[in-house]
């Protein structure tokens, strides 16, 4: 096998990019009569690993398999595992949240994602048995911190925040060492967009500035003060304050939608799209990390889109409604 390198990885990615669902396919999926028909179209695009689904309602298995396929592919070609792992970190954080929740309130049937950078058994051992031998130091650190601060008392909100913060701290630590300007910028933008979302969420909950400032993730480019100040002001002020930033459009449209129906869905989609476009606009370098990030994000995005269509089809939502919902968020 050729040695993993940037040009090799990107060469493979360029071909795989052809297999991403194109507009035609998406359109056909939207037009499909039944969920099973959607799956047929997906099978044409070699979705999942060819396993038979008992029923169309098992589509999550298919999507999980597809994500795992992307994960395996990236693991195979990655020229720098430390950097690609940063993209899988969100699944580790997700798994930790699930495990901590299960530990606190019992149960624990919710399946873990198998696309994290850390083997889920190691996470389980760390959370349940306190055996931190197979988890990286930052996980060990945040678990100790959580145990100290909250003990066995389960505070989902704060624990989530603590995990997110620890994740991003790790990301920025790695990036400081790696000096990858593109990823630095990318994750800064992601933190900015998350922080704005936090602000909106706190606003919706009616909590105070202290609460918000404990939630904000460090490392972004927007000053915390600006966001904290915006908490007690009308949202238009925030839109105005960010009018010259690159987030102007995301904030303007997303915040308006949030005001209108109190939901963050539109904002989240806009933020995802913003990041996707940012990465895409950079991913021409045949020797840089950009194209790899672009492919991971494109696949994640595609999987979200398929999920949206499947949910619509299973719940018998009309074609027009599904299209409208997709248009809301994708065009």
């Amino acid at each position: 096998m050729p040695q993993a390198s940037y040009p090799y990885a990107i060469g493979r990615i360029r071909v795989l990019e052809n297999k991403l669902l194109n507009n035609d396919k998406v359109e056909r999926m939207i037009e499909a009569d039944t969920p099973a028909d959607v799956l047929k179209i997906l099978a044409e695009s070699e979705y999942g690993t060819g396993q038979e689904l008992a029923s169309a309602h098992d589509y999550e298995k298919l999507l999980a398999a597809e994500l795992r396929k992307v994960y395996d592919f990236i693991e195979e070609v990655t020229p720098d595992k430390e950097l690609t792992d940063l993209f899988w970190l969100q699944y580790d954080v997700h798994n930790l949240k699930v495990l901590l929740k299960a530990r606190a309130i019992g149960g624990g049937d919710e399946p873990l994602m198998d696309t994290g950078s850390i083997v889920s058994d190691s996470l389980k051992a760390a959370v349940y048995k306190g055996d931190h031998s197979d988890v990286p130091p930052f996980v060990s650190e945040v678990l100790r911190e959580i145990d100290e601060k909250y003990g066995e008392r389960f505070d989902p909100h704060r624990i989530e925040v603590a995990l997110d913060k620890a994740g991003y701290k790790h990301i920025f630590n790695v990036l400081r060492k790696k000096k990858n300007a593109f990823l630095q910028e990318f994750f800064q933008k992601r933190v900015d967009l998350i922080n704005i979302k936090m602000l909106l969420r706190v606003k919706g909950l009616g909590e105070d500035a202290g609460f918000l400032s404990s939630m904000l993730i460090p490392g972004g480019t927007i000053a915390d003060e600006l966001l904290i100040k915006a908490l007690d002001e009308p949202v238009d002020k925030l839109v105005y304050a960010l009018r010259d930033s690159e987030y102007a459009q995301v904030v303007a449209l997303g915040v308006r939608a949030f005001e209108r129906d109190g939901s963050l869905t539109v904002y989240e989609r806009l933020a995802d799209d913003f990041l996707l476009h940012f990465v895409k606009s950079r991913s021409f370098d045949p020797l840089g990390f950009e194209a790899i990030a672009g492919y991971i994000m494109a696949k994640e995005n595609e999987i979200k889109l398929v999920r949206l269509i499947m949910v619509g089809k299973i719940n018998n939502i009309s074609t027009d409604k599904i299209r409208e919902r997709l248009r809301d968020v994708y065009v």
Partner: protein, 649 residues
């Protein structure tokens, strides 16, 4: 220079005869069908889109047949074609016969898919088993069953890997601190030690911390039952079973091999169907009738009418001249000697329908440039012969045929330049000439001995090429009625540059000066003519003189003619020297011949590639930039396209 005159065609016919009409057009291959399906209103569209399902269906079949063919080609014992294998010739009748057996053949395809799936499953099973075996391998000397390794009431045992020095460090540490722990090395690889660690649970914290510091890695063997040897035996058995099953399946696959030829015909039959169905989507359908709009060459109209009247009377067919705002597809027609050069242009862009076809003008330049860059009579001869034989033997078609002929033509050019400069397989000509009683093999001059003369020649040639490009632009302006544009934009430049050149010749220096000044003044006065303001006119006129640097750098770029020629000549010479250094005894002669042969083949291939890309580049950047308008869309008629077979009537 010929862009074929096109006619717009409109055909109205009955739905039930649509398929037959399209098939007739397909066999003729002279009509490009325009997509007008979205011109219709909603209802009509609905009627038309019923076909979409059908072509999806064919596409699905195609990909399955393709997979089956790939599988059978890989595993069946059917003979494989060599390099010169040509595609089998199949008549329409045979094709129809195979298509009528479609259902049976599709069963075979389905069988292939089942076998393929089983093979994939078996392969991944073997990979998994292999991985598991590798995992157990280091623990073979451990006699304790895996399930009993773990916590007891007072102790714990674990299996892990450590770097060798770290394993020693651990033992030292345990002894130093008199801890109730033992480390036993089960096996060792190059730098890893596979260890069984047993400790009293009272010291668990310290032991684990220390192990962590030493970067231990726990062996992932959970869930295994029995000793390592037992586990491996079990894996081995599984493996053998999987291999046996795989062999069985491969035998089954080999048996299906006899259908391979039929499957290939089926594939191409489906491909032809698919083309037709796709074409059907581009029509405007009403349910009962359809409208077809398209393009065909003016001279092909008669044949089309004849062919279609053989199919049905119930059609209405009209031809029109294109309007100004029509996007006319571009079909090129050139004499046989120019045709191969169309490949070069098509790699760049299809000419604009209102522009000119540059091929006839470009061909002689490309021909000469390629020859000068290769510049070796021996190589030229090989290329000319190989190109001709290859094209004939392989029965190449379309772009591949053009490419083959291009190689043959460029070979002739290379031969000519090689004779002129006396280059035969590097300096072989010079070496052999005395033996033949000749003073030298050089007919004109040897670039290696007179590099300045060669450079001068390259620049002169370059200037001629650039001038030809500008002249083509002037021709286009005149054709469009803008005679003054031609005079100002190209004519004055000719005057200026020729004047500048004359300055360098002592006899004409004075005349040259005045000619150049006249040209320059003319340019300053005319190049700003699109500006309104008189001052702006003057300054943009003055600035336009700066373009002289552009022409200068264009011409300089032709130095690559020399550089590439140099490279092929010298590398060829290197191999000759190497070969001759091996001496003259008969046994060294074999080595010498091998060096000569391999070396020159290498040089030939590398230089064909170099000459091809650089000769193309000189056309694209230096020549086309002067006049060529690209961006046309190539004429793509509905035809019979096949992948595995050649279809005849």
């Amino acid at each position: 220079m010929a862009i074929v005159r096109m006619k717009k065609l409109t055909l109205i016919g009955l739905d039930e005869e649509k398929s037959a009409v399209l098939r007739a057009m397909q066999e003729l291959g002279s009509v490009e069908i325009q997509d007008i399906s979205d011109l219709s209103g909603e209802d009509i569209y609905a009627a038309g889109s019923a076909h979409t399902g059908q072509s999806d269906d064919i596409e699905g079949k195609l990909s399955e047949v393709r997979n089956a063919i790939d599988l059978l080609q890989k595993f069946s014992k059917a003979k494989k074609g060599g390099m010169f294998a040509t595609r089998p010739v199949v008549t329409l009748k045979e094709l129809n016969e195979v298509m009528s057996r479609q259902a049976d053949l599709l069963d075979t395809v389905a069988e292939c898919r089942r076998l393929q799936e089983k093979l994939t499953a078996l392969k991944s099973r073997r990979v998994r088993l292999q991985a598991s075996m590798d995992q157990v391998e280091p623990w073979l000397d451990l006699d304790i069953p895996f399930e009993s390794i773990g916590y007891t009431d007072t102790t714990n045992a674990l299996l892990c890997t450590l770097r060798k020095d770290n394993a020693e460090a651990f033992t030292g540490w345990a002894e130093g601190n008199e801890l109730p722990v033992s480390l036993e090395v089960v096996s060792e690889s190059k730098d890893q030690a596979y260890c069984l660690v047993v400790y009293h649970t009272s010291s668990e914290g310290e032991v684990l911390d220390r192990l962590r510091e030493l970067e231990y890695e726990r062996a992932n063997l959970s869930g295994l039952k029995g000793t390592a040897r037992q586990v491996r035996e079990a894996y081995k058995k599984d493996m053998e079973a999987a291999e046996a099953e795989e062999k069985l399946i491969l035998e089954g696959t080999a048996q299906l091999g006899e259908s391979l030829d039929s499957l290939k015909i089926l594939y191409d039959g489906l491909l032809v169907e698919l083309e037709k169905h796709k074409a059907a989507h581009r029509l405007l359908n009403t349910g009962k009738a359809y409208i077809l709009k398209g393009w065909t060459a003016e001279r092909d109209t008669k044949a089309l009418v004849e062919k279609l009247s053989g199919v049905t009377d119930a059609i209405h067919l009209t031809f029109q001249d294109p309007d100004d705002d029509d996007v006319i597809p571009v079909k090129l027609e050139n004499p046989p000697l120019v045709e191969p050069f169309e490949v070069v242009t098509s790699l760049y862009s299809t000419p604009h329908p209102k522009g000119i076809d540059p091929n006839a003008l470009m061909a002689p330049f490309y021909f000469a440039i390629f020859g000068i860059m290769m510049g070796d009579a021996g190589y030229g001869l090989i290329m000319a012969v190989a190109g001709t034989i290859f094209t004939r033997k392989m029965k190449l078609k379309g772009a591949a045929r053009k490419l083959g002929l291009l190689m043959a033509l460029c070979g002739i050019s290379t031969l000519i330049w090689g004779i002129l400069t006396g280059s035969w397989f590097g300096d072989m000509g010079e070496r052999v000439a005395p033996l033949l009683g000749l003073k030298t093999a050089v007919v004109w001059f040897n670039p290696m001995e007179d590099p300045l003369m060669m450079l001068g020649f390259c620049f002169a040639f370059g200037l001629l090429h650039v001038f030809a490009g500008m002249a083509a632009k002037a021709y286009m302006s005149i054709r469009d009625g803008h005679i003054w544009d031609a005079v100002f934009d190209q004519g004055l430049w000719f005057v200026l540059i020729i004047g500048l050149l004359l300055i360098f010749l002592p006899a004409t220096a004075v005349v040259g000066k005045y000619v150049a000044i006249a040209g320059a003044v003319g340019l300053v006065l005319t190049q700003g003519r699109s500006k309104k303001n008189i001052i702006a006119k003057f300054f943009s006129g003055l600035l336009s003189l700066y373009n002289i640097t552009g022409i200068f750098s264009d011409v300089l770029s032709y130095s690559r003619l020399f550089a590439l020629g140099l490279s092929s000549a010298i590398i060829g010479m290197v191999f000759n020297i190497l070969a001759s250094m091996l001496g003259g005894a008969w046994y060294t002669f074999i080595f010498a011949a091998a060096v000569f042969l391999v070396g020159h083949i290498f040089n030939l291939v590398i230089n064909i590639l170099g000459a091809f890309v650089h000769a193309s580049r000189l056309q694209y950047i230096e020549f086309f930039s002067k006049f060529f308008e690209g961006g046309g869309h190539a004429f793509m008629p509905l035809t019979i396209k096949t992948k595995y077979i050649d279809l005849t009537n």
